[in-house]
């Protein structure tokens, strides 16, 4: 036994629920990667525009032909509102995690999962608001890819919450799982936020630009 100068960390907590945790930073890096992916996809969308006289380009491959194939607004807008509104129960779950209120978290997660499932179902309907199929032209390919990639995120987020909910129902909530729920909540806010921008680009920009 030798005496040495030390810093004793045994009293420090073993997990935190906020941005100080490693998993929060891992999630942030994932969001950077995915944001970059969407940014490039949006760049490709606008790049393709210079190859067309009419924007959105006409739909000609299947009857009926449509000259100005602007995507319809109703279903997408409902879906956008649904997604943005789902952030409210999400924020509620977030705060309940901080207070370790297991009942609130459980209920809130059920609401969020239902919202997520609804948004996914509406997304499938939303594909029909696009008046063209993905193989109509380059514009169509870009739009379908944007919607499709975002749909993948919707799936991932909703399934993650389903998994976390299962844990909560079977076991007790602890700091680590509260942290995981909060980190997934950040992911959910991003899913909603990025969709706001993508919605504007896909559905609004052809009408105004």
């Amino acid at each position: 036994m030798t005496a040495r100068a030390v810093i004793d960390v045994s009293e420090l907590p073993s997990a935190t629920m906020d941005h100080r945790s490693t998993i929060w930073w891992g999630n942030l890096m994932l969001l950077c990667i995915e944001t970059m992916m969407f940014a490039l996809l949006v760049g490709a969308y606008f790049y393709i525009r210079q190859n067309f006289y009419e924007w959105p380009p006409p739909k000609v491959h299947d009857p009926p032909a449509i000259y100005h194939a602007v995507p319809l607004l109703t279903v997408p807008t409902i879906n956008l509102v649904l997604l943005l509104m789902s952030c409210i129960p999400m924020a509620w779950v977030d705060r309940a995690c901080l207070k370790h209120n297991q009942m609130s978290v459980t209920l809130g997660l059920v609401v969020v999962i239902l919202c997520g499932a609804a948004v996914i179902i509406f997304r499938f309907l939303e594909f029909h608001s696009l008046l063209f199929k993905w193989n109509e032209n380059a514009y169509a390919s870009a739009v379908w890819t944007i919607l499709g990639m975002h749909l993948l995120h919707l799936f991932t987020g909703t399934l993650e919450f389903a998994l976390l909910l299962s844990w909560l129902l079977l076991k007790d909530m602890d700091v680590k799982h509260a942290r995981d729920i909060r980190v997934t909540a950040t992911y959910w806010y991003w899913i909603a936020g990025v969709w706001l921008v993508l919605y504007a680009i896909v559905y609004l920009s052809p009408r105004f630009l």
Partner: protein
Amino acid sequence: MSALVLEQKELNEPLERVALERVWKRPPGFIGWITTTHHKDIAIRYIVTAFIFFALAGILAFFMRLQLSFPENNILGPDRYNQFFTVHGMTMMFLFAVPVMEALGLYFVPLMIGTRNVAFPRMNAFGYYTYLAGGILLYVGLFLNIGPDTGWFSYVPLSGPQFSPGKRVDFWAQMITLTEIAALVGAVEIIVTVFKMRAPGMSLNRLPIFVWAQLITAFMIIFAMPAIMLGSGMLAMDRLTHVSTHFFNPAEGGDALLYQHIFWFFGHPEVYIIFIPATGFVSTIIPVFARRKIFGYTALVLSLISIGFIGFGLWVHHMFATPVPELGQSFFTAASMMIAIPSGIQIFCWIATLWGGKPQMQLPLLFVLGFIALFVLGGLTGVILASVSLDLQVHDTFFVVAHFHYVLIGGAVFPLFAAIYYWFPKWTGRLLDKSLGLWHFWLFFIGFNLTFFPMHQLGLKGMPRRIYTYAYDSGWANLNLLATTGAAIMGISIVLFLINVWRSRHSGVNAGPNPWHSPTLEWATESPPPDYNFVYLPTVQSREPLWDEVSPPVVCGLSNRKRESLITTLMEAAPDHRYELPEDSIWPVILALVVGGGISWAIFDPWAVPISALLTFIVLCFWFWRGNEPASLTHHVQSSEDLQLLKSEANKI
């Protein structure tokens, strides 16, 4: 968080060591090997695998050189040659250069910042197995004569559905997907580990330059890799029969140039992703062998950061021969020249460090000197290529081949060899043999110059790239034969190197923990380091911790009954909370099998995508489903009964 007080404490280091050995021990045999989550195991695996791919790509290159030695040669027909140069490029870029650079980071970053493992050890293992799957996929394709054959950048429309029917280009696309997943995984590890797990006192301005280089590279990977994933994904979708998107089909508004923009938006940062870690090696090695601290730490860090940023603004210089607007081209000329400034700053700082020091001509330094001589030459031909007018003549010729081999071999492989000679004693406890090393260096240096210097000339004499042969009346035969001779010499030097590594592992001169008397933290522990890296995590008070007069305090209080490390704050690295690291796990390799298998199968059947997505979800459920310990469990070995138990177990180790 209670205020942490610096105190004097009685520490029982042998007991702590025994307890940590037990907690960090791997299960025996093959299970232990396949389920490991130790960052050093995984990093060594990356390095060994990357060098196997390096050798394979070198063999491909040697066949290419044989084919080009004589006009109208018939060792390789056009189909075989096209596959060889494509797979050579893909192997070197995706299976060797980026993985080996990341691997050195995955090995040394946790050690240099004084922690026990990377932030997400299981994900790290998954990254390796995914990378391995990508490499196997590519070579299975090559050996079955369905390897990709449209160049490592696989331009459309040649690689599109019309002109490349069959599965070859799909092997390209899917291999890229797998290796980019691995690269992104490694990048996330580096960033989160560096930001959150540094030793107390290691504020950002005390970070070793090696770690800065790895951090900046990791950020570049985060922002550049999505482009190639998108590009290869779009190409795959264009090619799939029932999908048939039109991203690159000009008949439906798609654009062949869109592909080039997306590809090179990734492709240019890619070369800096390979180069910047190499500068980290150089900035580590020069101070040790000049016996003084690095000159211009701040300038070096700022240079690396600016290369990281400017590197994203150069990509159109690969497209000067295409119909992009001329005013835009000038912007990219200016940016491509600007990046020479931070690179130059680094060179000047390195020379300034040597200037004031007392250089010891050991092999690491010799390779670093070779690097400077060759990289500066390559960088200057880069300035030539930055000029639009000059590029229009030498683009897509052997001049460019010469340029990028000078900057990639000179600028990355030479520092890599320097790093291996430098760190081999840390990995194995033994030094590499010096005279065999000198043979390696000189043969490699001479062979390299004989191979690639004449290619500048060949480009100026009109020889384009990617030609499987050339005419008798072209006048290119002599220089090509010279280049092949150089390639043979390079090959011999690599064989000598491999012999050196093989022999020195067991019979090299014994090195202690710090044979070069280096200042960074990896040398503060044994060679090779134990699985838990340090018995007590260090703290630091300067940039060169092991060159300080006084040893700073160490961290105590971390559990020795479970795998635990310390999380510190982002800027000042003050201790924040304790972090539990996972046990060894089978799930990373299973997930890699699902992802690798699914992505490979998707080449042949699109149903692979939803099926493997479902399987991925199931595996991730198992991965993340874990128990938690009741807070009341004491996490220290304290009682005498515990002590007795541990001592008896220690006697068995």
